[in-house]
Symmetry: C2
Subunit: 369 residues, 2 copies
């Protein structure tokens, strides 16, 4: 429903693959990175700047939009695409991750989660049904089932209970959802336990979804642990469906997860670090606010085709950041989003050309974490 | 030196006129509004957004740039045009107004002004010679003489002493300045006293400048007082030279000052009020953050061709402002700068068409201050 996914090319030496997601708002080449527009805007950027950077799909956050401006306002505007003026692919999360991140401000039961708004402390209740209702009102092309996300150090008993709860909630989401123009993805949980992850994938596939999120990773565990979970899990996920690793966006993790068969990613990383003056390059990241860049009149990254690198120097951007000028974080945000989208393009080209392993070797030859 | 000014058309029923300033960085149609780029950026906007909005000249602040990043850094970059990536006209003020605004943090003598930096309290000294040296290093197309700006309620004795000091300083600026590609403007002072204003204009014209700033207005006096000063002063200013009313940018003041013969303006108003959620329209300004706009899906101003009005609704912009998203103040800033530049274009067209009085009547027929 809503979208179709076609695998285009599979790497013969790894699980990396390219594909195409067809949505009511256009085609999306995978593997894809989705910039995050938490509050109906990818922080500091216009929709045209996102399109110019090559974004084909972005993400909106149900929890934030439900509280402000309210899903009713977005619905009145004709849905989130129209409210924010975004013509291409759109995915909303279920609000689950944000609600669970509230810690003491929420209580979980089988029915759902009661929580207090981070804005004004007002009480709210989110259930699988309500998460789907809100997402149907927001009207994204892809929506996510309501899940429970255990912490990285969850013990087996907790992780098992959480995986089972996520399965029951996923079924209720599936039963509630009825928008034909929208795809619903399930979310695989199970902590760092391979058998629970496999069980979660099998349970969700029995219910049947248009794609599968992999949640509960990049929550504090070491990167090798995440890579192991992906390595063990992916063979148990229906290869005809897109696999979406949620909340992951550092360049090295993107390469390693694509290598292990992931098709979709989202993360606030590029815009969040940009606001602290950190920029991404193929040699690793650096903090452009630092003193050495005061008279450095080179672009952030030589050869980069983003607006910041085509028009401005490190010295100028550093000055803007030191002076707390908005243009500074605009330029670092544009660069970082462009960088990750270009990295995905380069990976897709390498996979299609049958040279992904060489690409990966070359990438880690210059990249310093 | 540096620029030429040609009067193109004079209104037969008022002192309004159109003209062209030719600078090393292009032609500028007057009357012109110059957006203010205090710290080498017009707040929130890129240089391309300014060009798209129709800006032909912008302003930089000597005081701010001298302190940060330092005029030496800007000079190393090849001047302010290159440092900030601005290809068109550029004017720097002398730093005088900012230094005098520091109040207790500065001491004036005939030699110059000692002041403490608002950034770190460090001591600095600004003299007419130093203000010119810094501005030659920054390399704008038009630079301003170092002046003393008395408060709106200055008594006659103070205003007279200040006018005389400004004249002595203007001569020292003239003697110091030697960049052939740069024009130097004197600044007419004299408080609210017509005879002092006339004396200031005559003194400065005897020294000889490429244009004349009118300083010390819009500093707290009622608008009619400012209009009177302009009315009495303008006949005493060489009609072959551009007249620049400093620090004025509200729509009604722009129309009234053009009516009285002013050619150039600058003001932080459009970007400053934008950051507080206030937008300019032909019917007056309104605060888009307010509740009535929560479900108002119209553009800020019907028929406006700016990026914000072409792409987004009041409801969306209100949401962004309430959620403290940078895109909100970007959109209000783009709109306000575009609005003032469009207002100047409309005035120029009306003057050229011989219909400026009708334009002014129509403007005040709908505009609610």
């Amino acid at each position: 429903m809503g979208i179709t996914f076609t695998v285009h090319k599979e790497c013969s030496e790894s699980r990396a693959r390219t594909g195409v997601l067809e949505t009511p708002h256009g085609r999306i080449a995978t593997p894809v990175f989705m910039p995050v527009g938490t509050q109906a805007t990818v922080k500091t950027l216009t929709t045209h700047e996102l399109l110019d950077a090559g974004a084909e799909i972005i993400l909106g956050n149900t929890y934030h939009l439900y509280l402000r401006p309210g899903s009713d306002v977005v619905e009145d505007a004709g849905g989130l695409h129209r409210f924010m003026g975004w013509p291409a692919g759109l995915l909303t999360d279920s609000g689950g991750f944000q609600v669970f991140s509230l810690g003491k401000l929420r209580t979980i039961s089988d029915e759902g989660v009661e929580f207090s708004s981070h804005l004004d402390g007002s009480k709210h209740f989110l259930s699988p049904e309500k998460a789907v209702d809100i997402q149907m009102a927001l009207g994204a092309d892809i929506i996510m089932a309501f899940d429970e996300c255990p912490p990285a150090d969850a013990d087996y008993v907790y992780a098992k209970r959480s995986q089972e709860l996520t399965t029951r909630w996923a079924r209720r989401c599936r039963d509630r959802h009825h928008r034909e123009d929208q795809a619903l993805f399930g979310i695989i949980q199970g902590g760092m336990y391979h058998d629970l992850r496999r069980r979660s994938a099998e349970d969700l596939q029995e219910i049947g979804f248009s794609g599968y999120g992999i949640g509960g990773l990049s929550v504090g565990e070491p990167k090798p642990v995440m890579y192991d979970v992906l390595y063990e899990l992916i063979p148990h996920v229906d290869p005809s469906k897109p696999r979406y690793l949620m909340g992951v966006g550092s360049p090295d993790c993107l390469v390693e997860a694509v290598f292990r068969g992931v098709d979709m990613f989202d993360c606030v990383l590029p815009t969040r670090i940009a606001r602290h003056g950190t920029v991404l390059t193929r040699r690793g990241s650096f903090t452009i606010r630092d003193q050495p860049y005061a008279r450095d009149f080179q672009p952030i990254e030589d050869g980069c085709t983003c607006y910041a690198c085509q028009n401005h120097s490190r010295a100028y951007i550093r000055h803007l950041l030191k002076a707390k000028e908005v243009l500074g974080i605009r330029l670092t945000s544009i660069h970082n989003v462009h960088f990750l989208l270009q990295l995905m393009t380069d990976m897709r080209q390498a996979i299609d050309a049958g040279s992904f392993l060489a690409f990966r070797r070359e990438f880690f030859g210059t990249y310093a974490g």
